[in-house]
């Protein structure tokens, strides 16, 4: 099982966290077009490579954070709490 580096709790089994997938900026609901909103809702880059994604440390510190993960190799580059600078924690790499 993948070890996910929670910036607070350290590397934890992925099964102890919740996965929230690819990050997308939310358009302004008052002004956006249907196409913009539905791009936000449905369309995904889904790269076979580096991906910035959201995790929630649901059984530990209960913080949402982002990690940068390579979707093919499983390699991790960084874990970031919202609002903090990138590169906070180096993940274990294979």
């Amino acid at each position: 099982m993948l070890l996910v580096p929670c910036p607070n709790c350290g590397p934890r089994n992925a099964g102890d966290l919740s996965y929230n997938g690819e990050s997308h900026a939310r358009p302004d609901p008052k002004t956006c077009t249907p196409e913009e909103w539905r791009t936000y809702l449905y369309l995904r880059d889904n790269p076979s490579g580096w991906l910035v994604e959201n995790w929630y440390c649901s059984s530990g510190c209960r913080k949402h954070f982002k990690i940068e993960r390579h979707t093919l190799t499983g390699e991790l580059r960084s874990a970031i709490l919202p609002g903090s600078k990138p590169g906070l924690t180096k993940g274990e790499t294979k």
Binding site: R38, L43, R44, D45, N46, T71, L72
Partner: protein
């Protein structure tokens, strides 16, 4: 291309077409045998004395005298002797430019065995050309079926199928080979039912036994809300003429005696959606059947050929396809069909088409073989498990997709743990069976549990992607419809609901309704 085809797709039986096109048709009847009281009554050792078969070389077998009833020989795997009366053999010389494939039959098997001959290649190793009318990316069931039907139904044969590995190396060879049509929405039901029809006649259509086993399909309900969804599906199914109904635990026990239907379990079995036409099929055989069929029509199949880029002219995301760059060289083509799973987003991103897809592994596992005891396919949505037993005696398990998006197919321990726990909830008596092998395939999940099919904003770039966990079931009909879509230049009604544009238009397909209701 936009060629119009005179035949209405799906109306013309492939074997009839084959006959018209001057290819040999071989069939043999076993009704005599049945009239004798079935296989069990055939006496061991009652071998006929006379065999009349003549080979025409590498092209398969040809009887000496067309139409003459010739008897018969033994085909046995052990002590049961099976008589195969061999009759009504007809042969017309092949005049077409495509060399027909070797005809597979029991008699052929006997002939080859007697002569100690080997079979010819199942498909050619074609020369790489620099130009094709259509290039299909992905040598799985979808890509190969699309190629086959382009040729068989529309006469379009200048087609290349390219695959980065070997044919059937992706989801086609990694799924758990379950077929069914008891979906929730009318559009889903109509679509998969056509697929089931094609599967039913496939062994004959493709002259390759795909071992379709119509063994019935049970979807268990463990909660009242799940039971409600089963009723919903059954009602929609029945209106579409699909054999599908909700049955109670006593009936379930009769169909699958290994299931624990007692009420004091953590996940009591409260009922099930029973779908008798559902079953299993030999997935590799489907791949090989379409590959062989496509090859016979002159379509070129390239394995170990990776697509590096798709060449276009005009603006990004809205231009026009001009060709494909592969690891074996460039191909110029006006039409590219993306029939991949696990690489759908990557391929589409080459022409800047963004898809509503995230890619997740779906894991499967198989046990050591034991004598058969599970006659039906059993699915439990709440417990995320489906199981069937192959004719070889192995239990084949699948689960729901892993929650974390990844292209890594290495598989997890947790999958096997959860699987075993849940299977033993359902069938407590099999704790001593052992897991032999686990593997994973990639599933392209869409927000509405339905595929993305048809044209895209890029002229000439078609997609047949987003197949989630149900791609194998849909292989034949997808190929048939995508072929029609490409050949006729307009999206057939059967796949109209699955166009990419539905996402920006907000017209999602209702399969999500069932998936999101209850647990």
């Amino acid at each position: 291309m936009r060629k119009k085809c005179s035949s209405i797709s799906g109306q013309c039986h492939p074997s009839r077409r084959a006959f018209k096109q001057g290819q040999p048709e071989v069939c043999f009847e076993l009704s005599d045998l049945l009239a004798q009281g079935g296989l069990r009554d055939v006496e061991a050792g009652s071998r006929p004395s006379k065999v009349e078969l003549v080979s025409n070389g590498d092209e398969g077998i040809e009887p000496a005298k067309c139409g003459q009833v010739t008897h018969a020989l033994i085909l046995s795997i052990r002590t049961d002797l099976v008589l195969l009366p061999y009759r009504s053999l007809r042969h017309t010389d092949s005049m077409g430019k495509n060399k027909p494939p070797a005809k597979y039959s029991a008699a052929g098997l006997l002939w080859k065995g007697l002569r100690r001959q080997s079979w010819p290649r199942v498909w050619r190793e074609p020369e790489f050309k620099s130009s094709y009318d259509v290039v299909i990316i992905g040598g799985g069931v979808h890509g190969l079926a699309t190629a086959y039907y382009l040729a068989a139904n529309h006469g379009i044969t200048d087609v290349a199928v390219v695959d980065r590995a070997y044919l059937g190396s992706g989801g086609s060879g990694r799924n758990t080979a379950i077929v069914r049509s008891n979906y929730l929405t009318p559009e889903g039901v109509a679509f998969y039912d056509r697929s089931l029809d094609l599967y039913n006649s496939m062994s004959n259509d493709l002259n390759l036994n795909v071992m379709f086993s119509e063994r019935g399909h049970l979807t268990l309900a463990h909660t009242d809300s799940a039971l409600r969804t089963m009723h919903w599906r059954a009602e929609v199914n029945k209106l579409q003429g699909i054999n599908s109904s909700v049955i109670d635990p006593a009936e379930i026990k009769k169909l699958a005696p290994s299931l624990d239907v007692s009420t004091d379990t953590r996940y009591p079995i409260m009922g099930a959606l029973y779908h008798p036409p559902g079953g299993t099929i030999r997935h590799d055989a489907v791949v090989w059947g379409y590959a062989r069929g496509a090859d016979a029509h002159g379509i070129d199949l390239f394995q170990q050929t990776e697509v590096l880029d798709i060449l276009t002219e005009g603006d990004h995301g809205s231009g026009k396809v001009t060709g494909v760059r592969t690891s074996k060289g460039d191909i110029s083509t006006p039409i590219v069909v993306n029939c991949t799973a696990g690489w759908a987003s990557t391929i589409s991103s080459m022409v800047d088409v963004q898809l509503p897809i995230t890619t997740h592994p779906l894991q499967a596992a198989v046990t050591e073989p034991v004598k058969t005891f599970l006659p039906t396919v059993v699915v439990s949505g709440s417990l995320h498990v489906y199981v069937s037993q192959t004719d070889r005696g192995e239990l084949v398990f699948g689960a729901s997709v892993d929650p974390v998006a990844t292209y890594n197919m290495s598989g997890t321990l947790e999958f096997t743990e959860e699987l075993a726990g849940h299977v033993l909830e359902l069938m407590p008596g099999i704790s001593k069976m052992r897991l032999l092998r686990q593997w994973a395939g990639l599933c392209d999940m869409t927000p509405d549990y339905s595929p993305v099919m048809g044209p895209t904003p890029v002229d000439g770039f078609y997609v047949d992607v987003g197949w989630g966990t149900y791609g194998f079931k849909a292989g034949p009909v997808s190929g048939e419809q995508m072929a029609a879509c490409v050949a006729n230049g307009e999206t057939p009604d059967l796949i109209k609901p699955f166009e990419l544009s539905r996402f920006t238009e907000g017209n999602l397909v209702g399969e999500k309704g069932a998936a999101a209701v209850g647990h």
